[in-house]
């Protein structure tokens, strides 16, 4: 999965991934300092697959997808590596071709729906615009299609809502409208960047359910970026955990939650209170803050916060590889991984 050494262009298997991110790095350059936000990230998404990317602020999870969508500013940012969508490299693609792909083949849903929508254009027109840009259709047909899309995205009374402006909708409705826009051209890949973080839990449940339904019905692949392990647990097929610009652990969802091996994943799961477990157990916090880090080129970036760190963790570029006692589709970047727990 994450080992993306493609088997050569010719050896096409039926499991050819839809999107392959290969050794992607993003560096932000300041006047004097450089910050590597993404540091050699590789993962791939199969058609119809839901891939989760989990990490906290500063882990580079959002920057990765902004880079592949070509949404990072050109000035002061250096992007290296490859991103292949259906075999085409997205990073070397021209702006025009990329713009064409965006919205029609790859669509994105952002965290904050209010800033992603144009405040002075009715939402119906905004949805129809996407259709008009990417497909050959008449204005009338596009509006009719918009009504249908909004309805499918759970917006009640879409004919009336069509004429409303973003500020007249609630947060949940706006996010639905945004999802409707994203799905307008039946994209092959939907990227969701914290789509429910700004929403209340009951609304989050509605939106997640909607996404799950739409994606499974249409066979759209999805990248779900979130800080919430709970969201990932119920939704994703495969999960990548990111820390400080690199993937530290990658596994199918059942495997990851049953046997978290990286000390970060393990620690994260132990530090969040759970609704379904008996009360009274004290939480086991991860020490320090995400700022206490070291570059991967010197040591494990999580080592400064890790209770299990030893001198052995101080080595450059610890590889992301399957452990002797873990399945091959569960690579971990850790010198002292957690024991496999049973039960």
């Amino acid at each position: 999965m994450t080992q993306t050494q493609a088997q050569g262009g010719t050896a096409v298997t039926e499991r050819e991934p839809l999107l392959e991110i290969d050794n992607l790095s993003v560096t932000f350059k300041h006047r004097r300092s450089q910050t590597r936000a993404v540091d050699g990230v590789s993962y791939s998404v199969d058609p119809g697959e839901i891939v989760g990317v989990v990490g906290e602020s500063g882990s580079g999870k959002s920057v990765t997808v902004l880079a592949l969508m070509g949404l990072l500013p050109a000035r002061g940012v250096e992007v290296t590596g490859q991103v292949r969508y259906k075999g085409q490299d997205l990073l070397s693609m021209g702006d025009r071709a990329m713009a064409k792909l965006r919205g029609s083949e790859i669509a994105m849903v952002f965290q904050d729906p209010i800033s992603s929508l144009n405040p002075v254009v009715p939402i119906g027109v905004q949805v129809a615009e996407v259709l008009l840009t990417h497909t050959k259709t008449t204005k009338k047909a596009a509006m009719a299609e918009s009504v249908d899309l909004l309805r499918r995205c759970g917006i009640p009374d879409p004919e009336r809502r069509l004429k409303e402006y973003p500020h007249q909708l609630s947060g949940g409705m706006r996010q639905r409208a945004l999802i409707a826009m994203a799905l307008a051209c039946k994209p092959k890949l939907l990227i969701c960047d914290e789509p429910t973080t700004a929403l209340d839990v009951t609304i989050q449940a509605q939106v997640l359910e909607l996404l799950k339904e739409l994606v499974t019905d249409s066979g759209t692949a999805m990248i779900m970026i979130t800080h919430d392990l709970g969201v990932v647990a119920g939704l994703c097929d495969h999960v990548n955990v990111m820390y400080s610009g690199r993937i530290v652990e990658s596994a199918p969802r059942q495997e990851l939650f049953a046997h978290p091996r990286h000390r970060y994943t393990h620690g994260l799961l132990a530090s969040i209170p759970r609704l379904d477990l008996p009360r009274g157990e004290p939480l086991q916090p991860i020490p320090g803050t995400p700022r206490d880090t070291i570059t991967w080129s010197k040591a494990c970036a999580f080592a400064p916060r890790c209770r299990h760190a030893t001198d052995e963790c101080v080595r450059p570029d610890i590889p992301l590889e399957p452990l002797p006692d873990s399945p091959p589709d569960h690579p971990v970047r850790c010198v002292h991984p957690a024991e496999v727990t049973h039960g």
Binding site: E56, S170, T202, L283, I286
Partner: protein, 361 residues
């Protein structure tokens, strides 16, 4: 609480540090070009009564717009209540004003959601920390600084933090400073409004544990206001659920999570994602329809009836349900006409709103 459990009530009364009775906060909606006219009221908090036992933690949950933050602020008189009383340790705080109110404030403190916003960016940690002491307990500067340093140490920050400014810390560290600042006056009651929701996931547990440790150390009483049921359940002894300005259910934490009786609580709990695929695949999810109605124009009858999956053709949209104790569940108050029927399984949620478990095949 005057119904059903009076015996229990009297016993507890001496132990109640905070008693809130029928608290109301209504914000006027004003319109008009030259002269503002009041055209209506947003009933942010509309008659909430609760008691918090000394040394315990009361968790108040609800979604944005339910009035939980306004409630917290009204208790501390940071927002003027429209009606009702707040009694702290026998003192009617809602009747105080001017200098008396200012003096009384040292006994009740607040921890804010966003620690960057709640610390003055232009002041050093030292001046932020000693400022409240200087007002309430003037002593020589050196003594104040020492107390500030001690307090910082207690929350796990070094002395050197005193010379720095809020923007130089990470979110978790800032929240520690915010907590230290609230605790330095040695208050009795601390209201924490979303104390961890602005922090990184890996840092939240540190702050939760810190709050628990300080409670033990100083015998503090907490009211924790949050939208995250898992966090609230973890730290609270008693939990109240708010919806559109009203308390809809209240019970001891374990009881509430084992036997939620109000349809809103049931839906809220089923909506929380659990970081365990096994559980996620097996659980049934009850979705709510639509959005929160406007608090300026709340629905008639039970305020939840417009979104309730268990809604019945009678009573729900006409009669306002009382917050009442359910038989067989002492201390468990709920405001639903059909609570007993839901408990007995005689009333089922509407099919269209139930998402079946994924492992059906």
């Amino acid at each position: 609480m005057a119904d059903g459990s009076e015996g229990l009530d009297k016993l507890d009364q001496r132990d109640d540090l905070l008693v809130v009775d029928d608290l109301k906060v209504h914000f006027p909606i004003k319109k008009g070009l030259v002269v503002d006219r009041t055209v209506g009221h947003v009933k942010a908090v509309d008659g909430v009564s609760l008691r918090v036992r000394r040394g315990s933690t009361y968790g108040l949950v609800g979604e944005s717009g339910c009035g939980k933050s306004t409630f917290g602020r009204a208790v501390l008189r940071l927002e003027e209540p429209t009606g009702g009383t707040v009694t702290l340790d026998g003192v009617d705080v809602s009747a105080l004003s001017g200098e008396k109110l200012r003096q009384a404030r040292r006994r009740m403190q607040m921890v804010f959601q966003d620690p960057l916003a709640s610390l003055d960016p232009r002041q050093s940690v030292q001046s932020l920390m000693i400022e409240p002491l200087r007002v309430h307990d003037p002593r020589p500067q050196a003594e104040l600084i020492k107390r500030a340093a001690d307090m910082l140490e207690l929350v796990g920050m070094p002395r050197s933090a005193l010379a720095k400014y809020p923007h130089e810390f990470s979110g978790g560290q800032r929240q520690r400073i915010g907590i230290a600042r609230a605790m330095i006056l040695n208050p009795d009651l601390v209201i924490a409004d979303e104390p961890v929701s602005a922090l990184d996931v890996s840092v939240q547990a540190q702050v939760i544990n810190l709050l628990e440790r300080l409670q033990k150390e100083f015998g503090l009483t907490y009211v924790v206001i949050a939208h995250d049921l898992a966090v609230v359940r973890h730290i609270s002894d008693r939990v109240g659920v708010m919806y559109l300005g009203r308390l809809v259910e209240e019970a001891d934490a374990d009881e509430l999570y084992q036997t939620p009786l109000h349809p809103y609580t049931i839906a809220l709990m089923s909506a929380i994602p659990i970081p365990d695929p096994e559980v996620e695949d097996r659980r049934e999810r009850i979705l709510l329809r639509g959005d929160l109605p406007s608090p300026a124009n709340p629905p008639s009858g039970c305020r939840f009836h417009t979104r309730c999956p268990y809604r019945q053709p009678t009573l729900c949209d006409t009669e306002v349900p009382e917050l009442r104790v359910i038989e067989g569940h002492p201390g468990h108050r709920v405001s639903c006409h059909w609570a007993e029927s839901i408990l007995a399984g005689r009333v089922e949620p509407a099919d269209s709103l139930v998402v079946e478990a994924a492992v059906a095949e």
